[in-house]
Symmetry: C2
Subunit: 303 residues, 2 copies
């Protein structure tokens, strides 16, 4: 069972699990502590850069269409070992602060609202054209490459490309294969989204689990939620999807229309994942950090 739960590949391409190939014994608990939304807002970039320096947040993904992306591209160039993916973005979900596609807008009309921004949300009557999604994803990756970012993985802002049907997931997967990049997918999602498993190739990396905090957790229970998740962690590779940021004037203004994934929320994530308490529980529970770069190397070595 332990061997099975450590499997990172849907279909094992060798008798060893990925964790074993990395040199870990069966039963090892590995986590990626992954900061989302870099590039969106300076207060998010600044918090992430600080936390990455501390080392307990060890991976992140960048929103290429957002105005502060150049700051992260510059950082990525001067920190070539940083574990940065691209946070593929198809929505502009805030109200007072907005962004638009990277692709020429005439090529992606179904992704635009009436003012030329990405849709604020995808409603029942929003018909997103998968061909246009592919054009936009490729444009985001090409801009990142042109600006010196060498991404380690791809994931999807607001899980739009994961949870909106087989067709959009297959677009993401096709683009990922074209650029030889892994996509953040976890077996936790297979029950609810069966097309994920059906679409993946045998050589695609699949994480075992993911943990992310939800609006149901009250602010005073923040640390308690994460501590419980860490104490109950299952063997294998788990990605903690977190949203650190500094609760300052910029972030408060940019997110003020709702508190979910808002400014105070992001400060709480920053505080927990840069705390001594977090370091201590990692040591107590024998939990080890791992990056996307290490997973990819292990997968390549096993071929």
């Amino acid at each position: 069972m332990l061997l099975v739960s450590l499997l990172l590949c849907r279909v094992a391409v060798s008798a060893q699990t990925l964790a074993e190939r990395l040199g870990y014994p069966p039963g090892t608990k590995l986590i990626i502590v992954h900061a989302d939304d870099l590039g969106e807002i300076h207060a998010v970039n600044a918090a992430a850069m600080k936390a990455l320096q501390g080392g307990t947040i060890n991976s992140a993904s960048l929103m290429v269409p957002c105005p502060w992306f150049p700051e992260m591209a510059d950082y990525a160039k001067s920190h070539p070992d940083a574990d940065f993916g691209l946070h593929l973005t198809l929505t502009s979900e805030r109200v007072y602060y907005r962004w638009s596609p990277v692709a020429s807008s005439h090529k992606v009309p179904s992704l635009l609202d009436e003012n030329g921004y990405f849709h604020h949300d995808w409603e029942h009557n929003t018909h997103v054209n998968p061909k246009e999604v592919e054009v936009e994803l490729r444009a985001q990756i090409e801009r990142a490459l042109a600006m010196g970012v060498r991404p380690t993985h791809l994931d999807s802002h607001q899980y739009r490309l994961i949870m909106n049907g087989k067709e959009l997931f297959e677009v993401m997967l096709r683009v990922a294969h074209a650029y030889k990049l892994p996509v953040f997918v976890t077996r936790d999602w297979f029950a609810d989204y069966s097309y994920l498993q059906a679409s993946l190739r045998s050589d695609d990396i699949v994480l075992d689990h993911t943990v992310t905090i939800e609006p149901e957790v009250p602010p005073e229970k923040w640390a308690e939620f994460y501590l419980a998740a860490l104490k109950n962690l299952k063997p294998g590779v788990t990605e903690f999807v977190i949203h650190p940021g500094y609760d300052d004037e910029e972030l408060r203004a940019a997110t003020r229309e709702r508190s979910t994934w808002g400014s105070a929320w992001r400060q709480r994530d920053f505080d927990f994942f840069t705390s001594d308490q977090f370091r201590e529980v990692l040591a107590q529970q024998h939990i080890q950090l791992i990056t996307w770069r290490e997973l990819v190397r292990a997968a390549a070595a096993s071929k």
Copy 2:
């Protein structure tokens, strides 16, 4: 001479000056205190909204392509009497924080750098196509109108459309005439840019003078510079072009590659133009505030 200096129209369309039509006696000193760059950065929006509320900054212009424009569009809708023009923008002059055209990029290739942002600067080898400029200016105005802004005037970010030749100025003027909006032009510029005077129509509003602070002024002389300008003010209508902002983490990060028109600069402008000292010198010197909206009404009434 006083009458002549008060003329706001290049060719008088009636014997009265615009100041007289507004009800002011000859010799009256009128100023527009105009904040530039709203929409670019939240710290600029926040400072401008605070200063507009105080009343000593009484006009401003908005950068439609910038990510914080929706915040100002929202403010404009709830403050329909605010004197807001559009700060027509064709450059993205910062390094870590960038923006792109409103028009579909395939329509305006000459305005784009290699990554799809507006050019950081216009170099000797940057060939900006005037037809594409017109497409982009119209797209900026159309987005502003669609988002509920009713602009009172047009001006040009970094004076690109004023100081880069007759052809670009005539594009701006043609668009302004199409939308029945005045353009910020002052007789101070006629000596250096003779095509301005040659291109203007007899019914175009032309301000008498402009004052703006330059990098040569050291920080400790900021108030001294403005006080001298106010004490030596000539009769007629003068626009003070200022750049208020809050010197906070966001503004420092966005402008950190150079100090000119940077974060501390903008805080100094905010501080002076919201100070009691500024109010007092206005009263002492019998200087009166006027808006673009009032100028347009007076011009319309005189026809």
